[in-house]
Subunit: 371 residues, 2 copies
């Protein structure tokens, strides 16, 4: 009997688990939010992931439950676990991806390097934090933010006045960073780890635009420190499946943890074509407690460029022939989503020996889908 | 609107088209022979591919029809084409993959190098062929053979007495070959070709056991001649999609065409992990008349070893953890088929710089699934 993996959420991360699951012989099933989503091919159920009965009925048909996103409520997750459902990552780990204040507090206990931070309950708390940190801060809602949403850079409490009143906010030091990096680690329930090379991520407008793997001009020490931070967090938080640790590399050569994601992550899409074992295959292996695959790059360089919808983007299909014709070695991945301005609807991977050529190829191929 | 590709046949070749189709944003649908087949995830219909009504109803829902196998009858194919259905490869090409006598006659017209051959209608025809070719011959039923079935090496007409009476047989010279090679070519309806490196195939008991890509110790001339033969046949026969040309390399350094396949082929499975564009993605692109991808290897060497069921093989799932644990860089592909002795149920790909190491890794990982 094939192992059956149930994925809650029908987005592109679930979609991209389908290919490696099929090849490994895993029966993959998706609980999608609605019909016609990215992972529709494997959708066996449609419903609200916040509803225990919906998730419970879906979980009953699978061996292991995992996720396309981190938004399944703790109450639902804990009820499943109490009933004996195998859930990876589990609620004890996921809480730290769901609540940024809890994450900061736990990382502090683990001794992970972080920006200065504080829980600020009101305007005077935030003013105090601003006063101690040069008059500017990053303020985040602890829950529900992604891709730059729920994040504001402020120099006065008035700029987040609309956010107060619903529990404390997270205030963070505005880090003077040289660049952003991401460290991915896979961890099985039995404890085995697979550590990916640290990569550079380039954000535009709060959204990941490009990833270069491995991070250029990284020293051996940088790579080792990043790997150690990733491994320590995966173990310290008991993560199962893929963990992504977003890092700031500061201008004074420190690494500070920015955000965590406990699922396949945009910073790891390069590995579909650039790693011996891409993150989607690795996540499937890890949550099923199968031995992990080799996370090593297949080529010296891999570059990922996201395809975002623009005001004029009609469909990706209409742009695909010209992109493929111009760039026969570029790997185009699409998410089956209608393009809307700023929405991630696909990405392009390129690999090779020469970084400039690889960056050019990935950007040039992706440009066929932009306005 | 996504392009919709309909695949007739639910076997492993259809299954392995699912992954690249999903990534390219192609809506893939399968007409499977029965429930629970290899490509069940994408099966939207179940029925007999020999029945025009069944295939016609399936074809109505898709943009392009292609195939998991070459067994759809000409009458069905021609009826679809007459009704305006886009079918790749089309019946004019497929007839040469369906009828080995027609293939030999057409290749002779094209001037492709072949073994000596003749259509033998009866025992006296075959005896004459034996007398002219050293007393031994390979006799094949023109239709329906695969994986060594419908093929006998004989030294007397009595050995195929049971095959006469149903139309002429194909008699071929028993070629004194040094090794077997395979040349793959993809061709779009609009004419573009993509030519893969020639590979070495190792057969055991008439079934492909291993493939080494590219073929070791190939001279530039050998590679060029093989590529030219593949391209000439793809163009001469009007093949659309993937073409595999099985070749004998003779002890006197000639290449002779053994068999043709107009679909993804076992000799190209290495490309899933070893080529920039594997054959399954290439077939999807080609039959949809999308620009072809780069067929170049990603690594100096790729080796594919088939997993065949043995008398004691229980399930692949039970063997998977040990195989993955011992060989974290090997890529295991399974077909979702119940193991039976001699049945192809999966394969392992390995890639790298050192051929001996790559051969070892692929064989060692595959050995976990053997008895």
């Amino acid at each position: 009997m094939a192992l059956t993996l149930g994925i809650v959420g029908g987005g592109q991360l679930a979609r991209m688990m389908i290919a490696p699951a099929v090849e490994l012989g895993v029966d993959v099933r998706v609980l999608a939010e609605e019909p016609g989503m990215s992972a529709a091919l494997a959708a066996t159920a449609t419903g609200d992931y916040r509803d225990l009965e919906t998730v419970r009925a879906f979980a009953r048909e699978v061996d292991v439950v995992t996720f396309d996103h981190e938004h399944v409520p703790q109450a639902v997750l804990r009820a499943l676990v109490d009933e004996g459902v195998t859930v990876h990552p589990g609620p004890d780990a996921l809480q730290f991806a769901q609540d940024k204040l809890a994450m900061r507090a736990r990382l502090a206990e683990l001794g992970a390097p972080q920006p200065e931070w504080a829980a600020v309950a009101d305007a005077s708390d935030l003013q105090a934090f601003l006063d101690e940190n040069g008059g500017r801060a990053v303020v985040k809602t602890p829950r529900g933010g992604y891709d730059g949403k729920g994040v504001r850079v402020v120099s006065s409490p008035e700029e987040v006045a609309d956010w107060f009143g619903d529990g404390p906010l997270l205030a963070e030091e505005l880090v003077d960073f040289a660049r952003e990096l991401a460290q991915q680690v896979a961890r099985r329930p039995s404890g085995e780890l697979a550590v990916y090379p640290v990569v550079e991520t380039v954000q535009r407008g709060g959204v990941c635009a490009e990833v270069i793997a491995p991070a250029p001009e990284r020293t051996a020490r940088l790579a080792e420190v990043a790997a150690d931070i990733g491994a320590a967090i995966a173990e310290g938080l008991g993560v199962t499946g893929m963990l992504a640790v977003e890092l700031f590399e500061t201008t004074d050569e420190r690494l500070l943890v920015n955000e965590l994601a406990m699922r396949p992550h945009n910073s790891g899409h390069w590995g579909q074509d650039g790693a011996v074992t891409g993150q989607f295959e690795q996540h499937v292996r890890a949550v099923l407690d199968l031995p992990l695959g080799d996370p090593a790059p297949r080529q010296p360089w891999a570059v990922m460029v996201n395809i975002l919808g623009g005001p004029e983007t009609d469909t990706l299909e209409s742009r695909l022939p010209a992109a493929l014709a111009a760039h026969p070695a570029a790997k185009v991945h699409t998410y089956g989503k209608a393009p809307r301005p700023g929405r991630k609807v696909g990405h392009v991977n390129a690999t090779g020996d020469d970084l400039d050529a690889v960056v050019y190829e990935a950007r040039a191929a992706a440009s066929f889908f932009a306005d």
